[in-house]
C-alpha cells in the first residue's frame, strides 16, 4: 500500500504557480520525476514547468500554443481546450506560441497526433487552474467550494458576490496546487468553446499582410542566403568559382560547404550571401561548379518501371518467413484455383513532391559567444542536427517556432535548419575576422530547389489478383509490390474480411531517391489502389459498389493466427486498430447524404457516382463523388459528400470542415497532374507549370461534410480526409465512362479538368 502511495506521489502531475511582477499569476504544468529515472545514469535535471496559462489582473488570459502551426489550426485548437475547462470566454484569451523546449513534451505537427496526444492533458490543465481559482474564492468568501460557479472568467458566490479570476490571481499564487489528474473535468455537454467554430487566431494578420511566417522573420542586420546543391541526389561539390561569385556586385560571402552525411546529414553545396535574397540567388546563374554526381546518377524512372514489370513475374511468391509488412493468410493459390472468377490488375502511382506554398527557409544567428539562435518553421523541430551542422553542442543552440506556409509533411525534414546553421557560422566567422559584428542569416530555397530536394512520397507498383466465388463473394485477395520504399498494404482492408489474403514485396534496386511522409503517409496512395481494385471486384460480382463494401465489413473472417499489428498501416497513431462498424458508419452516412440508392442506378453516359472509404491515422472517412466526364475526357467534379468519424468531439468545426475540403482538393492534385520523375538521378520537374496544383476552376460545386460522432476519443483530421478522395473520384469516372483508372496521374491518359 505504501509503495503504491509513493508511486503516486512520484508521478504526481500538478500545476506550479508563480506570481508575476506587476500582478497576475502564471500556471505551469509540472510533471514529477518518475520512479527509477534516478537509478540509472546521472540524476535528471529538475524539470522546468511549462507555463500554459497566465492570469492577468485585467482578467485577460495568455494561453500557450505548444505545437508548430502549419495551417492545420492547432494554434487555436489546443488553447481552446484549455480555455473551455478554465471557463473563460475565447475573446478573453491571448495566444502565445511556445519556443522549442523539452518542458513542453512532444512539439510535433505530424501524423494527426496533436489532438489525440494532448486532448486530455490540455483539459486537465484548464480544469486544475479553474479549481485553484475556485479555492481562492472560497477562502476569500469563507464558503464551501461547491457553492461557487464560474462563467466568463468570473467566480460567482451567490448573494451577488462575484470576483474576476484576475482579482484572485494573487491569492491563487499562494495556494498548494492540486494534482491535475484528480481534478474533475467538465461534462462535454457544458463545453462552450470546444465544438464551436473558432476562426484562425491569425486571420487578421494574414488578411492585412503582417509578417507572421518563417520567410518574414528578419532580425536587425539580417543577410540573405541561397544554397546551390547538386541536382543529382548525393552529389557533392568538387570545386566552384566562389572567388568570382564573391566579386559580383552586392555579394558579401560565397563558400562551399562539405557534405556531412554521417553527422548532421547536411548536403554539400555552395552558399551565396547578399543583402537581398534576389541578388544572392541571381548569382547562381554565374556559378561554375564541378560536381561529383556519385552513384545515383544512373537512376531513372523508366528503369524502376522496367524492374517492376520484370519482378511482377514473381507475384505469386509467398513472403519469406513472417516478416513485418507482409502477410500470408490462408491459401490464396488454392482459392484462385477454385474460383468462379479471377481478376488481375496492375496499378501505379508516382513519386510526389509536397510543394507547400512557402518555399523552404530558416533563419539563424551564430553569435560571438558561440551560441546559435534559430527561427524554424519545422513541423518536428529539433536542435541536434542544426547544432551538429554548426559544430556546437545542443545546449548552445536555441530555437523559436515560427508559423509556416504549409507543411503536408515536408517540414518533418529540416535540412534548411541544418544548412542555415552552418552557413550562419561561416558568415559570422568571416565577419568576426573582418572586425564586423555577427548578423543573422536567412536561407531561402527557390521553388525549383523545393521541388528538386524533397523527401518524396514513394511511388507504388501494385500487381493485384483476387477471386470471387459463384455468389460474387470475395474469397482471395493478393497484392504484390515491387518496392521503391513503397508501402505494402499488408494490414489494409480487406484483410480480416477475406479468408485468403497475401501481400508481398520485393525491392527494386538501386533506388536512392529520398522518400518521406506526405499528408496521410501510407494510405495517400494505397487507398487509391485498394479502393479502386475493390470497386473492380464489386463490378465483377455484379454488386452495388457501396453495398459490396458494406457486406465485406459486415462479415469479418477470423484469422488462423494472430494478425499482429492490425491497423499499423493507416492506424498508427492514437486510435488502435481498424473498427469495421466505424467504417460502415461513415459509408452508411455518405450513402444517405448522397441519396446513393436512388441516384446510382441512373448514372452513366458521362455522369458518374463513386464511393470509397479509408481508415487513416485513427480516423474514418468516406466520400461519394458525383462527376461529369465530357467526350474529350474533360472532368468536372459536381458534388461531393463526405462523412467523417474522428470520435465523439469535434474541437473546431470550422477548421475541421476546412481540412476536409482541403484534403479533397489536394487529392485532386495528386490524381490529375502531380508526379515526380527521375532522370540521371535528378528530379525532372522544376516548378508549378510542370506540377499543377488544383485551381479555383477545378473546385467542386459543393463539398458537404458530416461528422459521425462515435463514442471514441477525439482524433486528428489533417490526414484522414485525403486518401479516399482519389478512389472516390476515379471510381466515379469508371461509373460515368466504363474506363477504369489504374495509373496516376490521369493527365497521361488524356484527362484534364473542365
Amino acid at each position: 500500500m505504501k509503495a503504491e502511495t509513493d508511486t503516486t506521489l512520484n508521478r504526481r502531475t500538478f500545476l506550479k504557480v508563480t506570481s508575476l511582477t506587476g500582478g497576475g499569476v502564471a500556471l505551469s504544468l509540472y510533471v514529477g520525476n518518475r520512479e527509477g529515472q534516478a537509478q540509472f545514469g546521472p540524476p535528471p535535471a529538475p524539470p522546468t514547468p511549462d507555463v500554459y496559462i497566465t492570469i492577468k489582473p485585467n482578467n485577460r488570459f495568455t494561453i500557450i500554443a505548444k505545437n508548430p502551426e502549419t495551417g492545420q489550426g492547432i494554434k487555436a485548437a489546443l488553447p481552446m481546450i484549455i480555455a473551455d475547462e478554465l471557463d473563460v470566454d475565447w475573446n478573453q484569451v491571448d495566444i502565445q506560441q511556445a519556443d522549442l523546449d523539452p518542458k513542453y513534451g512532444r512539439q510535433i505537427e505530424g501524423g494527426s497526433t496533436a489532438i489525440p496526444s494532448n486532448y486530455t492533458t490540455m483539459r486537465q490543465v484548464g480544469a486544475a487552474a479553474r479549481a485553484m481559482v475556485l479555492e481562492a474564492a472560497a477562502d476569500f468568501w469563507n464558503v464551501p467550494v461547491d457553492e461557487l460557479t464560474t462563467a466568463s472568467g468570473v467566480v460567482h458566490g451567490g448573494l451577488g458576490r462575484q470576483a474576476t479570476y484576475g482579482s484572485l490571481a494573487d491569492a491563487v499564487s499562494r495556494l498548494e496546487p492540486p494534482d491535475i489528474t484528480g481534478v474533475p473535468l467538465k461534462d462535454p455537454a457544458d463545453f462552450k468553446i470546444i465544438g464551436q467554430p473558432v476562426p484562425g487566431v491569425e486571420n487578421f494578420q494574414m488578411v492585412t499582410g503582417q509578417p507572421i511566417y518563417s520567410i518574414d522573420v528578419e532580425p536587425a542586420g539580417m543577410l540573405f542566403a541561397a544554397y546551390h546543391k547538386c541536382p543529382v541526389f548525393g552529389g557533392v561539390v568538387e570545386s566552384a568559382n566562389v572567388d568570382a561569385i564573391r566579386a559580383l556586385p552586392g555579394i558579401q560571402h560565397a563558400f562551399v560547404l562539405d557534405a556531412d552525411p554521417d553527422g548532421s546529414g547536411r548536403a554539400s553545396g555552395v552558399a551565396i550571401v547578399a543583402d537581398s535574397w534576389w541578388v544572392a540567388n541571381n548569382a547562381r546563374q554565374q556559378l561554375d561548379v564541378a560536381w561529383n554526381e556519385g552513384p545515383t546518377a544512373v537512376e531513372n524512372t523508366t528503369r524502376y518501371d522496367e524492374q517492376a514489370a520484370a519482378l511482377s513475374s514473381r507475384a505469386s511468391e509467398a513472403p519469406a518467413g513472417g516478416g513485418r509488412g507482409v502477410a500470408n493468410i490462408g491459401d490464396v493459390e488454392a482459392a484462385f484455383a477454385d474460383a468462379a472468377q479471377v481478376l488481375e490488375a496492375e496499378y501505379y502511382f508516382p513519386l510526389l513532391s509536397h510543394a507547400p506554398l512557402e518555399p523552404m527557409n530558416s533563419t539563424a544567428h551564430f553569435k560571438e559567444d558561440g551560441t546559435l539562435e534559430i527561427w524554424s518553421p519545422s513541423q518536428i523541430p529539433g536542435l541536434a542536427n542544426p547544432a551538429r551542422s554548426a559544430g556546437i553542442e545542443n545546449d548552445a543552440a536555441t530555437m523559436h517556432l515560427v508559423r509556416s506556409g504549409g507543411g503536408f509533411g515536408r517540414r518533418l525534414y529540416s535540412e534548411y535548419d541544418i544548412e542555415v546553421a552552418a552557413i550562419s557560422r561561416r558568415v559570422s566567422e568571416e565577419r568576426m575576422e573582418a572586425g564586423l559584428p555577427t548578423v543573422p542569416v536567412k536561407l531561402l530555397w527557390t521553388r525549383e530547389d523545393d521541388m528538386h530536394f524533397d523527401m518524396y512520397r514513394p511511388a507504388g507498383y501494385h500487381f493485384f489478383k483476387a477471386a470471387l466465388d459463384g455468389d460474387g463473394r470475395l474469397t482471395a485477395f493478393r497484392d504484390f509490390v515491387p518496392s521503391v520504399s513503397s508501402v505494402v498494404p499488408a494490414n489494409e482492408f480487406p484483410r480480416g474480411f477475406v479468408s485468403n489474403f497475401m501481400a508481398n514485396s520485393i525491392p527494386i534496386t538501386p533506388f536512392s531517391i529520398p522518400t518521406g511522409a506526405l499528408r496521410a503517409p501510407s494510405t495517400n496512395g494505397v487507398s487509391f489502389v485498394m479502393q479502386s481494385f475493390i470497386d473492380e471486384l464489386a463490378v465483377a460480382a455484379g454488386a452495388d459498389p457501396m453495398q459490396f463494401r458494406l457486406d465485406l465489413l459486415a462479415n469479418p473472417v477470423p484469422e488462423p493466427q494472430p494478425a499482429g499489428g492490425r491497423g499499423g498501416r493507416g492506424g498508427g497513431f492514437g486510435g488502435g486498430g481498424f473498427n469495421a462498424s466505424r467504417a460502415a458508419g461513415v459509408l452508411e452516412a455518405v450513402r444517405r447524404m448522397s441519396n446513393w440508392d436512388a441516384a446510382y442506378p441512373t448514372m452513366g453516359n458521362g455522369r458518374g457516382l463513386g464511393c470509397a472509404f479509408q481508415f487513416a491515422h485513427a480516423g474514418y472517412v468516406a466520400y461519394v463523388v458525383d462527376l461529369t466526364v465530357a467526350d474529350n475526357r474533360q472532368l468536372r467534379v459536381n458534388n461531393v459528400w463526405s462523412a467523417v468519424d474522428i470520435g465523439r468531439q469535434i474541437i473546431n468545426p470550422s477548421r475541421s470542415r476546412n481540412l476536409v475540403e482541403g484534403g479533397f482538393i489536394e487529392a485532386m492534385s495528386h490524381m490529375m497532374d502531380w508526379e515526380i520523375t527521375i532522370e540521371g538521378g535528378a528530379v525532372v520537374q522544376n516548378n508549378f507549370p510542370e506540377y499543377q496544383p488544383t485551381r479555383m476552376s477545378h473546385a467542386p460545386s459543393s463539398i458537404e461534410v458530416e461528422f459521425v460522432l462515435s463514442d471514441n476519443s477525439p482524433t486528428g483530421l489533417g490526414e484522414p480526409s485525403l486518401p479516399p478522395a482519389i478512389p472516390a473520384i476515379t471510381n466515379a469516372v469508371f461509373n460515368a465512362t466504363g474506363e477504369r483508372i489504374r495509373r496516376l496521374p490521369m493527365k497521361h491518359d488524356g484527362y484534364r479538368w473542365t
Binding site: V207, T208, E218, L357, R447, R695, P700
Partner: protein, 150 residues
Amino acid sequence: MPYTLTVNGTSTTVDTPEDMPLLWVLRDVLKMKGTKFGCGVGACGACTVHIDGRAVRSCMTRVANVNAAVTTIEGLSEDGSHPVQQAWMELDVPQCGYCQAGQIMTAAALLANNSSPSDADINTAMNGNVCRCGTYMRIREAIHRAAASV
C-alpha cells in the same frame, strides 16, 4: 540604379539592380513582408499586388518597369476593413494562409471591375492564384459575400 516608386500612397526611392523584381524590392529593400514568394515564375499568384489598380504578379515585374502606383496587401485598407478582408475573416477562409494575401489582392481587383461576379467570372479571375491547402470553396463564397457588401 535609383528608382522612385509609389507604394501604398507613399513615394520612396530605392537603389537596386534594374532587373530586380518588384517582389524583392518590396520584401528585402522596403521590408514589406505581406507580399509572398511562392514560385518566382508567375505561376502561383502569391506575389499579387495592384499596379494602377490591376492585379499583377510582382515576381515577374522588374522594378524598372513599374510606372504607376503600387498597392500591396498592407495598403489595401488601413485596418483590415476592405470588404474582401472582412469576408475572408467572417468565413474563416485561411488554413496556412500563405497564399491569401495574393488571393485577396486578385479578388479585390476583380470586384473593383465587376461588382457582382458569377462563379465563372471568379474562376477566370482567380485561376492564377494557387491555394495549396485547398480553400477554394471558401474563397469563392467569400468573394460572393464581399460582392454583396461592396
